[in-house]
Each structure stands twice: as structure tokens, then as C-alpha cells.
């Protein structure tokens, strides 16, 4: 699921899976790997890896260690390591990561930021740039149309 050179969580850490038949609302904070196949609205933060499946819909600001995105996301993404965006992904929001990979066919509407310094995904370390980054209103309609 994730690149070989990225740190993998301990085998004993249980993976959180939000299945296609579930809706999560609120500030979701996870310790282990997280797989989203359903709907998540609010905020999302995990100390490990995140996978957003093809049929998933996420309306949240995201912070993760690494991310693999195939679904729809409305909100800004801050990733410590690598973001891999597949051809089916629709992202309405800014992306900040050390490595960003975008497959052809993906729709990304927002700023891409690849800083040289380490990126912090701690909840308290929010830069002014991040706080001003609300989900982009003008693109909301486009997502709704789909």
C-alpha cells in the first residue's frame, strides 16, 4: 500500500478501517494505519499511514505520516513523508508534503507545497499558512456536481 522506504507500523498495531457502509463525523485522531473506504466529515489526523479508497469521500483537513489517495477529498492535506495520488483521486485543497506523486487523470485544485525542511504533523504545530487554508469554497460546487 505504501512505498517501501517509508516507516511501516508495527505488525501488532491494529489498522483502523472505515468501511464503505460507515460515516464518521468529528475530529478523528488515530495512532495506527488508517484506511478510509466510506465517508469522513470533520478533521483527520493519524501518526501513521493513510489510505483513501476510490469510493471514499473525505470532507476534512488531513494530517498523516504518508498518504495514498484514490478518492475524493475536500480539505487541505499535510503529510510528513510522501503523498501518492492515483488517477481516480479528486482533491480540492492544498497539499503539503516532502514527496508528491500525481498519476495522470487525477484532479487536484489547490496549491502544492514541497518544503525542504521537515514537516510537522503534530496537532499543536500549525503554521499561519495552514490556519488560513480553509476548504476552497469556489470548488465546492464542482465536487457537489459529481
Amino acid at each position: 500500500m505504501f512505498a517501501k522506504n517509508q516507516p511501516i507500523a508495527s505488525q501488532k498495531t491494529i489498522e483502523t478501517i472505515i468501511g464503505p457502509s460507515v460515516k464518521v463525523e468529528g475530529k478523528f485522531k488515530g495512532e495506527g494505519d488508517l484506511v478510509i473506504e466510506g465517508i469522513l466529515v470533520g478533521d483527520l489526523q493519524t501518526k501513521n499511514n493513510l489510505k483513501v479508497g476510490q469510493n471514499a469521500t473525505v470532507d476534512a483537513h488531513i494530517k498523516a505520516n504518508n498518504a495514498f489517495i484514490s478518492g475524493k477529498i475536500k480539505g487541505n492535506i499535510i503529510v510528513k513523508g510522501k503523498v501518492e495520488i492515483t488517477g481516480t483521486a479528486v482533491i480540492l485543497g492544498d497539499i503539503k508534503a516532502q514527496i508528491i506523486s500525481i498519476e495522470s487523470g487525477a484532479l487536484v485544485q489547490g496549491k502544492l507545497n514541497m518544503p525542504v525542511t521537515n514537516i510537522s504533523t503534530d496537532p499543536d504545530s500549525v503554521t499561519p499558512e495552514e490556519t488560513s487554508a480553509e476548504p476552497i469554497k469556489e470548488e465546492e460546487n464542482e465536487l457537489d456536481k459529481e
Binding site: 505488525q11 501488532k12 491494529i14 489498522e15 483502523t16 478501517i17 472505515i18 468501511g19 464503505p20 457502509s21 460507515v22 460515516k23 464518521v24 463525523e25 468529528g26 475530529k27 478523528f28 485522531k29 495506527g32 473506504e37 466510506g38 465517508i39 470533520g42
Partner: protein, 249 residues
């Protein structure tokens, strides 16, 4: 000192040979103790609390999954070690703890590998393996977020240790975490079939329902509770004798 408790269903004649063999093996291994048989007139809680007052340090329950579910709720709050002797091979609790069925379980008792394992607690009731909600019209509240199924028919199971394929090998009774598994059930041509499920680890949740009727929660295939309910993990709550073939460290 050992206290052996035979569940009431073992009063049936078909178990007498097995019980004689178990008693003989216990004697051979030098772990003999007081034997009591449950009946309509003998209450398990009274027997155990009286035994503890008289110096019992190890309570051994002989029976099936339901026997173990009952005894766990009594010994969890006492300073005793629990041993189990399953009389059939179908107990997932015994399998996870590495306890073979029937006479072979006596050897596990004698080896005395003792582990402190977690229990789940719904309101004031403990469960060792799982709790299940079949009418899935519920809302699961975590500290900062809520989870609700979007399909009509769901099975929600709260696991202390995994027997479901989604959490097997990952969920252990010593990890200090319980897992909520939500599985949608879809009617198909050949009966009901399951779709991809949801797995959410937790230490504390609240289960509520918007349905008019209260939703039932069945713990360890035995006790029925009603929503709203608070479910927490009770870490390392139970001292239990386990076998070398247990499914955790």
C-alpha cells in the same frame, strides 16, 4: 487451594465418565481441591465468594463458553486466578487461551502459566471475548467523533480478542484495546452475505440508538444488555491460567 466448579448441565449422565477422568487426572497431577456442582439451589457467586473467604486462590470452571462468561463476571473483581476446563472443543475463549478440551486441560492447569488479560466492560458487566449488536441502528460515540452505519442491516461486534477474520492475528487480550467491527449485511440470492467491514480500535465508547426500541447487546453469547451503553476496556483485569498454544504472547 483450588475450587472446582462444575456447571449444572454437567449433572447429565452423559458427562459422568468425563468428569471421573478429569477428577482422576487432577488427583494424579497433585492439584486436587474442593469440588462443587452448580444446581438450581447453588449459586455460583455465593460459592466463589465463600470459597475465597476460606482461602481459595484458584477457581477452576468446568463447562462451556457460557460457564466461562458467567464465572468471569464473578472472579474479575476478586484476587483469584481462574482456570478453565472446556468439556467440548468449540469454545473460542479456550482456543485463544490455548486450553485444549476435556482431560488435556488439566495438564494446562498444572503447568500454571498465568497471564493477566484485558476484559471488556459494558456498563457493569464484563465480557472476555466479544459483544454483539445485530440490529445495527446505532451511533457509536468516541471522545471527539461519532460513527454511524449508513446501511440498514449491520452486525456490530466489539472484540477483546479477534475471532473475526478482519481482526484475527491483530487483536489480542493483552493489548489494552478493544475493537469495534461493523459488518453490513446484504441480502443476496443465496441468503445474506457480508460486505467489506469497518474496524475501529477503542478504549472507551458510548453506544446509543435513535431507534424507538432499545437495541440489544449480547455479551459472550450470554447476557443481553440494552442501549445506551458505555463500553470500556479493563486492562489486565483477569488472572487466568493459559496454555502454551495460546494465540498471544
Amino acid at each position: 487451594m483450588y475450587l472446582y466448579i462444575y456447571d449444572s448441565f454437567l449433572n447429565d449422565k452423559k458427562y459422568s465418565d468425563l468428569l471421573i477422568k478429569i477428577e482422576k487426572r487432577i488427583t494424579d497431577l497433585g492439584i486436587k481441591g474442593r469440588i462443587t456442582r452448580l444446581s438450581v439451589l447453588k449459586n455460583m457467586k455465593e460459592l466463589i465468594t465463600d470459597g475465597v473467604k476460606e482461602g481459595v486462590q484458584t477457581v477452576v470452571a468446568i463447562g462451556n463458553n457460557q460457564t466461562f462468561a458467567k464465572v468471569i463476571n464473578i472472579v474479575a473483581d476478586l484476587d483469584v486466578t481462574l482456570g478453565l476446563v472446556p468439556v467440548d472443543g468449540g469454545s473460542p475463549i479456550a482456543q485463544t487461551l490455548g486450553i485444549p478440551p476435556k482431560v488435556l486441560a488439566c495438564d494446562v492447569l498444572a503447568s500454571r502459566i498465568i497471564k493477566k488479560i484485558d476484559l471488556g466492560k459494558i456498563n457493569n458487566h464484563y465480557f472476555i471475548n466479544s459483544a454483539e449488536i445485530t440490529n445495527g441502528d446505532v451511533v457509536i460515540e468516541y471522545n471527539d467523533y461519532k460513527v454511524r452505519p449508513t446501511t440498514l442491516d449491520n452486525k456490530i461486534t466489539l472484540y477483546n480478542f479477534g475471532t473475526d477474520q478482519l481482526v484475527a492475528d491483530k487483536s489480542h487480550p493483552i493489548d489494552g484495546i478493544l475493537e469495534a467491527v461493523i459488518t453490513p449485511i446484504k441480502g443476496g440470492v443465496f441468503g445474506k452475505k457480508s460486505m467489506a467491514g469497518t474496524v475501529l480500535p477503542f478504549t472507551k465508547i458510548k453506544i446509543g440508538s435513535q431507534a424507538e426500541d432499545q437495541v440489544s447487546i449480547v455479551t459472550d453469547e450470554q447476557i443481553i444488555m440494552k442501549t445506551p451503553a458505555e463500553v470500556v476496556v479493563a486492562p489486565q483485569k483477569l488472572k487466568i491460567i493459559v496454555g502454551p498454544d495460546r494465540l498471544f504472547e
